[in-house]
């Protein structure tokens, strides 16, 4: 009970503070643009999303409620092509994106208007400036590697679900995924994994799983560890040596009898 009172009080305070300090003119212009976007988003939503998530985003048996998931969740789900989902399965995989970024923003604005949730992060939040790669590595191993593998190559979960490979996923989407916890991934809100922490993790991923990440020793073999190394040792290592052994032991061609 006490906690609830404290929470309400805090909310009231921040709201009051916001109105005090918010620049009024700019806010007005923004507001109109915002309400336009919400309207557009509502239309898109009615066509593409309402059948599963309900007409007001309240959710149905086919899709969860979207009230309070925030713009970041929409940007991630639609921006990676996961939504709209195509077929039922253990997990909704990433697909070709079918909405433009503008449409996604409108959808996001609409969903955000249904209930407060995390916003789409800005470049300053996920950009590389001021990131500590090594700290990011430590955080990644504590929070992420258990599902996504040491360098984000992905891994298996129960009953056909999986943690996807993080190669080629944009920093923004990684940030949003941590923030919102899509599907079965838990969320890592700023309260437990700070903005700086997230930035560090993204910088680490870029360093170890980027396009020009160096693999000093040579072929990475999928970065999957001993299983792929073992296969390689058998097929190419022992395979090559047996091929050589066949040559060493083979009879030399005899001169043709004329």
């Amino acid at each position: 009970m006490a906690a609830l009172v404290v929470l309400l009080l805090a909310l009231a305070c921040t709201g009051g503070l916001y109105t005090l300090f918010a620049p009024t003119d700019k806010a007005k212009a923004d507001e109109t643009a915002q309400s336009l976007a919400i309207d557009e988003g509502k239309k898109l939503y009615a066509v593409g999303c309402a059948s599963c998530h309900g007409t007001g985003g309240q959710g149905t048996t086919d899709g969860p409620s979207l009230v309070g998931v925030g713009a970041a969740a929409v940007d991630f789900q639609v921006g990676t092509g996961r939504m709209p989902a195509q077929q039922p399965g253990a997990q909704v995989p990433k697909k070709k994106v079918i909405y433009t970024q503008a449409e996604i923003d409108q959808l996001a604005a609409y969903i955000a208007s249904l209930g407060a949730g995390p916003n789409v992060p800005t470049d300053a939040q996920y950009g590389p400036e001021g990131a500590d790669i090594a700290k990011g590595g430590e955080l990644f191993r504590t929070n992420c590697a258990q599902c996504h593998n040491f360098t984000g190559k992905g891994g298996a979960l129960t009953h056909g679900k999986f943690a996807p490979d993080l190669e080629g996923v944009s920093p923004k989407h990684i940030y949003e995924a941590m923030q919102t916890g899509p599907q079965n991934m838990p969320s890592f809100p700023d309260t437990t994994l700070s903005e700086q922490n997230k930035k560090d993790i993204i910088a680490y991923l870029d360093a170890v799983n980027g396009d020009d990440t160096e693999s000093p020793g040579g072929l990475e073999l999928g970065g999957l560890g001993p299983v792929s190394e073992g296969l390689f040792a058998w097929i190419f290592g022992l395979g090559a040596l047996i091929a050589v052994a066949v040559w060493v032991a083979a009879r030399t061609a005899k001169a043709k009898k004329s």
């Binding site: 891994g155 599907q183 838990p186 969320s187 437990t192 693999s215 000093p216 040579g218 001169a255």
Partner: protein, 352 residues
């Protein structure tokens, strides 16, 4: 049971004898061993030019090896150890490793290839038959050995002087015990160490990421957080050993979704704290699926249901993850209400 009982005629006739004498395939035995086929010459045996070609090939391989060794030394000296190059289709790799490996590989492989080519084309390839000799000693030898042994045994009087024999065996059997004793100090006795962790009443739950104590409002439904006991720092001498037992996994579940009564009692507003150490063999288990509340171990796939007392629902783990009883202190921080009430991590004989 000895194999004498198998009648001799059940054993097949010995190879090399079954078909009679070597060399003659007559009317009587078409399967007879025709003996070693006559030696056929290789091109190199009859054509000196072909032999010369082989010689040059071998020499070329040896020269290639020398060049590769020189290249190895040049690469070692010339290429900076942190230089990265792009090699298709391998990717971005360390230039020095690539250069050294290939030159060393070439130098060695060429020596081998040269020697083998030499052997295959220029050395005689006539097959030779070598006789085998029985490994078993002939009966005379065996008899001599047995006699010698008996003589020696008799002279030692070991069989007769039983006192000597028995005490000697006793001494020989006992002395290795000192070696076993010496192993005692490899480690301390277990005592109750496996039963206790750093957690105790009033210890705050410190977020592993931010190193700040956690408040209930920090932990959202569907989120996953890892915590350590207040006061344990990464630089501490005992950090590794302590975190191996104390690591904590914190999730928040809607209280209505919590099926286990005790779990709900030990939680704080749906925030539950479970040991991160798998009860199977101790991997840090933390593959949390927020919709199903299942947590999977990446090592051996034990699956626990965090909404039902962390009961095992799949895999090789034998019992549920231990839960830590938590509450909130006066300052609004999450705190432990005591240590785990059972040992964390893998089961052991004394666990009970």
């Amino acid at each position: 049971m000895s194999s004498q009982d198998i009648p001799e005629e059940n054993l097949p006739a010995e190879q090399g004898h079954a078909h009679g004498a070597v060399g003659v395939a007559d009317e009587k035995n078409p399967f007879a061993d025709p003996g070693l086929p006559p030696h056929e010459h290789r091109v190199q045996d009859i054509d000196e030019r072909a032999a010369k070609r082989s010689e040059r090939a071998v020499a070329m391989l040896f020269v290639l090896s020398m060049l590769a060794t020189v290249a190895f030394i040049v690469a070692y000296v010339a290429i900076p150890h942190d230089k990265s190059i792009y090699v298709f289709p391998i990717g971005h790799i360390n230039a020095l490793n690539f250069a050294l490996g290939l030159t060393l590989g070439t130098a060695l492989f060429s020596i081998g290839a040269g020697a083998v080519h030499w052997a295959r084309t220029l050395m005689s390839d006539e097959e030779i038959a070598d006789e085998r000799h029985a490994i078993e000693a002939p009966p005379e030898v065996k008899a001599k050995v047995m006699a010698d042994f008996k003589q020696g045994a008799k002279e030692s009087a070991l069989g007769r002087r039983k006192l000597i024999r028995n005490t000697m065996f006793g001494a020989l059997a006992l002395f290795p015990l000192s070696g076993v004793m010496l192993l005692r100090d490899l480690g301390p006795l277990p005592g109750t160490k496996l039963r206790h962790t750093l957690w105790s009443k009033g210890k705050l739950l410190v977020n592993m990421n931010t190193n700040q104590p956690l408040r209930p409002s920090d932990v959202a439904v569907g989120s996953l957080t890892f915590a350590k006991p207040e006061g344990l720092e990464e630089h501490d001498h005992e950090f590794q050993t302590e975190i191996a037992k104390a690591a904590l996994m914190i999730v928040r579940i809607q209280p209505d979704d919590i099926k286990d009564k005790r779990e709900l009692e030990w939680s704080h507003e749906g925030i539950v704290a479970y040991s991160k150490i798998c009860t199977h063999v101790g991997c840090p288990i933390s593959l949390y699926e927020q919709q199903t509340h299942h947590v999977l171990c990446p090592c051996h796939q034990s699956t626990f249901d965090l909404s039902d007392g962390a009961r095992v629902i799949f895999g090789p783990a034998g019992h549920a993850l231990p839960q830590l009883r938590i509450g909130v202190n006066d300052e609004g921080y999450l705190e432990a209400l005591g240590d785990f009430d059972e040992p964390v991590g893998p089961a052991f004989w004394e666990r009970g």
